[in-house]
Amino acid sequence: MRSRILRVLGASDEDDPETAEPDVRTDGGTTSDAAAASGETSRLGQWLDSEFAKSLPFWLPATLLVGLFVYGAIGWNFLISLTDWQGLRQPTYESLDFEMYTRFFDSVFAGGLLSGPQEYWALRNTFVLLVVFTVAALAVGLLLAILVDRDIRFENTFRTIYLLPMSLSFVVTAIFWAWMYNPESGLINQTLGAVGLGSLAQQWISDPQYKLFAVMFALVWQFSGYAMVVYLAGLRAIPSDQYEAAKVDGASLLKMYWRVIVPQLRASTTSAAVVLMVFALKAFDFLYVMFGTRPGPSADILAMMMYRESFGTTNWAYGSAIAMILFALALGVIAPYLYLQFKRGEL
């Protein structure tokens, strides 16, 4: 698709000099002294005829809209985070400083490395969620993809089953995971009890020790299907001779995947990881449905805290600062990916 666009652009590249050059030549030839006026028009005509002007209608509207509603909003949010805005009056933009950010990071480090106020827990949990959830979802997704790729029966059915959870809303999955985690009547503890592992039964979503783990497990369940689909596409792109060559060379199944196949899935891994990380940052809905706006320190995340600060206590500036920190985190996740793509010339 992209190459076709390039080809079209290339074609127009070749076209334009042909049409443009004679114009210039005739212009230069006929009007040498009646310079100013016709020179202006010809420059305008030239400009109108240029690549740039001709491409304007295609990218300008979208750029303006995105610029205003995405980057404009981000910029304004940043500006608000520099103010002291709270309450229900209009913000004043007179004294701009980074006070909200210093307040946040002071709080994060206030309690040392292992504890602290809500800022510490929100930031810590956001990090943990980002890393552990992404790695776990990728691992499960890769495993599923390899299994589904091994010419099994009902392949399409399995693929659909694994992908299905992703099509469900967080609201739905949060509610039924809350049922599953119910320590008395929930499926998980019941199953553990039925197979004689009753001693492993826990208060999954009320014991602070397991809360975040329980949330991540549910999220992995929901999103590993997506990782599977991405990996499956990657696996299908690997020519089958390579499997055969590895087999001929006497590689075991495990060795073949580990040495030959998995290293070729790097591109799939990066693209799936980026999407999963973004989902991790958006786990707000899931937590909100499960716990309301107060999941407690063991499962609090930045998005949740931002919501509380802004709409619970009308600390708009502080909420905006948290939003910017979250934005920086998301950018930090995506930037290496974009850079990699750029270096490979795929951007």
Partner: protein, 442 residues
Amino acid sequence: MTSDTNLTRRRYLQGTGAAGAALTMAGCLGGGGDGDSDGGTTDTDGTTSSSGGQELEIVHWWTAGGEADALEALVEGFEEEYPEVTVTNNAAPGGAGSALDTEIQSRILNNNPPSTFQIWPGESLNTYLESDVLVDIGESVWDQEMRDAYLDGVKQLSQPDGDFVAVPLNIHRLNNLFYNVDVVESAGVDPSSLSSPADVLSAMETIRAETDATPMIHQTQAPWSSIQLWEDILVGSAGVDVYQDVLAGNVAANEQAVRDALQTLADYSDYFNEDAGSVAWDQANNEVIQGNAAFLHQGDWAAGQYKTAEDFDYGDDWDYVPFPGTDGIYHVVTDSFVMPTSNPSPEATEKWLSYCGSVDGQERFNPIKGSIPPRTDVPDEEFGPFLTEQREDFNDSSAQPPTIAHGTGVTPEVKSNIEGVFSSFNGSWNVDNAYNGLTNAF
């Protein structure tokens, strides 16, 4: 030939692109126009309100069964009394105003507030009062007749800064200990003999020893239930004055009382249903109805659930006592309506607020909602036996303290901090941490 078709296609594309651009521009202009016309509507509304035909927009969070019916009845009565006003009933669903706050705050910031909206009175008005966005209705709505009919504790809540700004419409009682009669009897416990929060503890021990039932139903999924239980343990063991002093921010001065109350709550937690962390309170309450649990501490909205349960009658199957130690105290949870400034329909809003403060309005609303009217002169007929008893208790009560969990006792900022403390206390039950958290919360 090919280059020709190419050209036309390109020109065609250019055309659509340009059209798209033009449309976007038009869209932007339209947006600008909207903004202007908004400014216009407030103007025209100003004029319409002075001429008569009015529109009243009410924003509230009463969307669940009985609540929605109660509001419906109130609106109906209002429209009978003031036929010239058209009511726009704008619900912002979400328990206890979680979504409503967001909507109201952004609308006030955009200078486009509704005519009136539901809010807890008392300190939770703080955000709005600080920004000066509520109209003083001491003259226009709170006439002498209305002032005489309200009790002091409730009137206080309507004027946190001295001026009357809110009209309380209904009152729920928070300090109830509901129980399943059969379970309690089979354990040989007499709830009416309990006289302190500590007695509840020993009663629960007996229930656990004598029956298979869960001694107390509770939820720790969200922090509010534990906050309100802690409030009543504090009132019941240390008295209203200590409680009020804590609300005023003097936690350290009452260290022993606060710590003891936290410890008692932590002791209670041994007797909670095992799935307290995974259920909502009404889900858990089914266990009381089915006879699998004995006690429930909850506001009297819980009675609504018992009322709708089949074969579960007041007095025979379920009953309640004021939370032990809080006899004679009516721990008030109340909803009110207010009048924001830049009001689109000032006159209609005043009519609505006056109606909310009237005997007729409160008589229509409260029996259906399952609450009692804040006015003491509303006739009893419409209220069932349970609410009639509650009304007697209310009229005879010696104190009507506000609450933290339901917004009337502390500012939203403090409430949020306390919720933070209890969201970690729920589950960890670490008294030292919770106490330190509370001292920092105010």
